[in-house]
Point group: D2
Chain length 370, copies 4
């Protein structure tokens, strides 16, 4: 079986670089045959010793200290931007304009302007592009989307989502706390994920009000954001993000209530989906939220893995995500609707900006896209 290769150029070797690289290496044999066979051409990073070790560790054929070298490398067909937020726009645009497909970590930009610019310029090139909102590729999240699309929970009335972590008080200097590098704090880091899944599962947000808080003295960015939202379809709810929730390690929790049922999820138990359906039979008398262990042969993405009940980890969302992108590249197919495009990245940024405007000005903000 001959699988066509695709050269990958990676920007970044830290947390996200590790996660994306693992995806390329794993999908090569776990999703068999893979849509395209990743060739790890080169990895870029500013610290030469570190990037050299990363290349050795992960099997990139070369390492470079200037991302522009990746952009100029003709062997590279896919540019993977796993760098910090302030390195999202320029390299991603340059790579696309050099004809490479691109995947860029979220948030796409540090604000809506930068994100819009990135999206428009990349889209203009005609390459495939993806914003790495990887949680769309958690099997339970995809299953939720299937249930919603099939109308099984009816009209949606509520979405409440919160992404809670606890390390905000104990971590020291990080680029994530630097406004120039990160754009925002918990909002862009965690809140953007909530916004993206709310758009993926419920629809566009029409209006919102928000309050932000910075608990750590001297910190430039928000430690937490709290908002109320109204969707275009009439659903209302809340979106929150915080780095100051003790005991919540990686608690991205959301719940959707519809006229015929409800769905709830917690990333700390990412293999499970809580599903309540009002109309199921038999068992009118035995209704309640079902703990669905999303690990059956017929569940999304599960054909790649193990017998039922042998659960997978957080990192596998990236395997599915990049598998999706490679399939779109191979087939010249749309990344949307299941994959987040750079337009989705921009739209999340537009909502984030509206939250910051509301937090500052106190008014309810309407979300409008350019």
């Amino acid at each position: 079986m001959a699988v066509e290769p695709i050269g990958v150029g990676m920007l970044g070797y830290a947390f996200m670089g590790k996660a994306h690289t693992n995806a390329y290496k794993t999908l090569a044999y776990m999703t068999w045959p893979p849509p395209l066979m990743p060739q790890l051409v080169a990895i870029a990073g500013r610290n030469e010793a570190a990037v050299a070790e990363a290349a050795q560790r992960y099997g990139y054929a070369e390492h470079v200290t200037d991302w522009k070298t990746l952009v100029a490398d003709e062997r590279i067909g896919l540019f993977d931007n796993s760098g910090p937020n302030d390195l999202h726009a320029q390299p991603t645009i340059a790579a696309a304009e050099a004809g490479k497909h691109v995947i860029c970590e979220k948030p796409l930009g540090r604000d809506a302007d930068e994100s819009y610019e990135t999206w428009r310029r990349v889209a203009a090139t005609g390459v495939k592009h993806m914003c790495a909102f990887n949680y769309r590729f958690v099997p339970a999240v995809r299953l939720a989307r299937q249930i919603v699309e099939a109308g099984e929970i009816g009209e949606i009335q509520h979405f409440r989502g919160a992404y809670l972590q606890e390390w905000g008080a104990t971590e020291g200097e990080l680029w994530r706390f630097d406004k120039a590098a990160a754009g925002s704090g918990a909002l862009g880091d965690l809140g953007a994920h909530v916004i993206d899944l709310s758009r993926y599962l419920v629809g566009e947000i029409e209006a919102l009000s928000a309050i932000t808080a910075t608990f750590q003295p001297g910190r430039e960015v928000d430690d937490a954001v709290e908002s109320v939202v109204r969707f275009e379809n009439g659903a209302v709810g809340t979106i929150e993000a915080s780095r100051f929730s003790q005991g919540r390690k990686n608690a991205f929790r959301w719940e959707i209530n519809g006229s015929k049922g409800s769905i709830a999820f917690d990333l700390e138990r990412l293999n499970e989906l809580q599903v309540h359906l009002t109309g199921s039979a038999p068992g009118e008398r035995a209704q309640g939220f079902r703990t669905v262990l999303v690990s059956e042969a017929e569940h999304p993405f599960w054909e790649h893995w193990w017998p039922q009940g042998h659960i997978i980890g957080w990192e596998h969302s990236f395997v599915h995500e990049i598998h999706h992108l490679l399939t779109a590249i191979r087939d010249d197919a749309d990344v949307a609707p299941h994959g987040a495009t750079l337009e989705d990245g921009y739209r999340a940024a537009e909502v984030c900006d509206a939250m910051l405007r509301s937090a500052e000005g106190g008014g309810r903000e309407t979300v409008s896209y350019r």
Copy 2:
């Protein structure tokens, strides 16, 4: 609305006396109209000061220090034996032979012989009789019975039940640790409940093997019992009871697996039933254990209580139990199958004895009823 009265004579004013008395007082207005209106005629106990205070507290018209006075009291139509195990047989028999209906706490006797004698002599009188296996009257347990009876989980293959508490090491002198008074330890106290519900939900036990343990030096009775059981219908499983399970406060847990589904329960969350049904539609893809909050208008016993989700407590099982008994008395109806009779009390004792024989002799014991 005139409700016919029934005079109640109570033996005991400690834990069980309090629970039973609360039931009489509560059902008088919560289950409206009650089947019969309890009149608290007299309460018996050996410590006069204590029993006098109990009478005042609970509203018994009189107090006595000799239970025989209750037996002789013609105003009493129902004799409630909430005394310790060694006071079960004689007063219960005497009351029945004096023509009073009887309810007796579990275990019915200290062994199968005593239990058999009590059952036979009481049954011979023709009065209504009940062994207070109150957990049959937890709404979730009754719902489980309904689901099993309706065939919704198919043929039963497994029952695993454990009743775990933690106080075995820290409590001092108690009649419960005295073999002469209690008969056995965790087995008769907790294990009898597991045995009774296994019989109520699955069927008769055919054979078993057991191991007991006494962890506390010098203690006469078992602190824990572990057994494997085979039911007449072919199901197999385990039955356990322990007073040495740290952190398990009142954890009476059981699970039933059938060919079409499963049910699980934990007394620490007594308003919930975990139900898995393989054949439900829609939602083949959204199967899993449902957390049924057993608190809907159509759920067992719930017509007496509150709007859905307003959960009830442990003590309410006694309200339902005694309501059931009063109904049987009023209607001259069978206490069985939902109420445990003294025959059920005897049968649980026969199983307990078989467990002790197996624990001592090491062999698998067949359960046979006289």
Copy 3:
């Protein structure tokens, strides 16, 4: 033991009348000796047949069809207003002005004006007064307060509370949907509870933004309210209430995150408290949210009940609440801080009004008390 009596006059015999009456009857023997011995003097309701049956059922000596008869009855020392919202102000004020202690169901009034008037006029009389925010009297909630007050979770950064029910779409005509009778919908009915506990556990709310929704065509009141709040102490969070959350039967859920730990609660499991403490030892490596089964002898209110793990029901919160009020009456002690006074009822109404103003006007509202 002679316990001094107090005559009780009850307005209402529906859901709340049943719950309050059960409390008077139960505390008389469960909390022994009770602070005062309730005498059920009379019950008022507009439907004579119904109120007559209620009197017989619950043991009120008399029934009346005009609440003013209760106010005029000198045997009555405590006026219990369990009527609908539009019958809160006038009877409560009249009873207090007649020298009776009063307890009034929540919301205190249909808006802040009415609530303020009620509080001020009642307070002017010098009687004891209580607004029946019964959830302060759930053992787990009181335990949470103890933990917060002891500083065990440090400075509070977040409160997120939601009271979710599901019956909004299926119930027909109810006074609860009538703006003139109820004042508001989910907000006053459910949201007021969230507001009250947020004030009890975290502190005063300083500012908020809100969105409301009415999903049922033609309905006058809100079906759901979503809000973001900032507390005076700097904590931020969300407060929600909805009658359109399928599968959530009585899900009053809240979580508090502090600098040293977190606490979470769900009314559907009211005997449990989730507690995370960062600083516990031993076991740095074994940290996590503890499921505290709030049923130990040393836990709040537990001295009245059963051995550990024998859980209590929703209705018991009222037993504790009225026990608290009777103690305050007997001892001429403050109802606050653990009991909600009519001032607390007013304050909750002020917050509710601010939410409605924000929902309508779109701006962030400052909460200020008169």
Copy 4:
């Protein structure tokens, strides 16, 4: 950084072959630097087309249809036996006698005799050997061992373990149902895991009684086994395994109760450990089972993975397991106590055989090792 290589020869390409191969490929970069760098030399299987595709898929340099070719291959330093049970003994012995280190899937043999022979002959060669009881390498399981060893839960009184799956009725012809190929059914497949962890966490089993059941007509092997056990240290408990537990997908659940605390685990939530410690301070009033999300930097194996709360999957246990073996090979260190040796494989088989004898004969069996 130059990592010394080790040639791997793999027998089997199905479920376990996939899991083991994934481990070699993943540890090469996730555990950096790896103890030895696996070189995938060759893979053996009987179906040439299938094994050829497996070689291509996973990157084995060669494929062979006779495992003896692997044994003869001097490039291979580690022989990995992921074949069916009836191919465990002979190839494993042959590989060891050819001087290769060996890892063999569980159960080591189809009975104790075969397992004993395998262990003794392999041990005689002096190579490193491991029986792939991979659940010892789940982070939560290792954490449990640390807690037990540190004495934090005191003396152990109970172990109750069950490994429950549901596919027994729906799967058709499988070697797992063939007595000649598999040796036993649920017992060797699932029960062996329970036995191994009970030995790892509690200690040696001294005596036991068991009942087995075969629900599927015509099936040669057990569908379920139920047993009671007594450990040498005095603890008592139950061990179960079943393929007929509807709704339990991969539910390997165990609980340990000790004099100072308890620990509980469920493989379906393998990133969590339930821990109850009686002596923790502060918070006497806030005790309860903690849901420890075993994903902190200081937790076992976690240095290889992600920031806290980013959970890992079932397959990662194999990464840790083989990492452990490679470390032992590199350092000429003991595989025990954390790795299961072939002696552990034999001991589990001895317990399994005792269960079958008890199930057949009805008596309590003593476990004695040769």
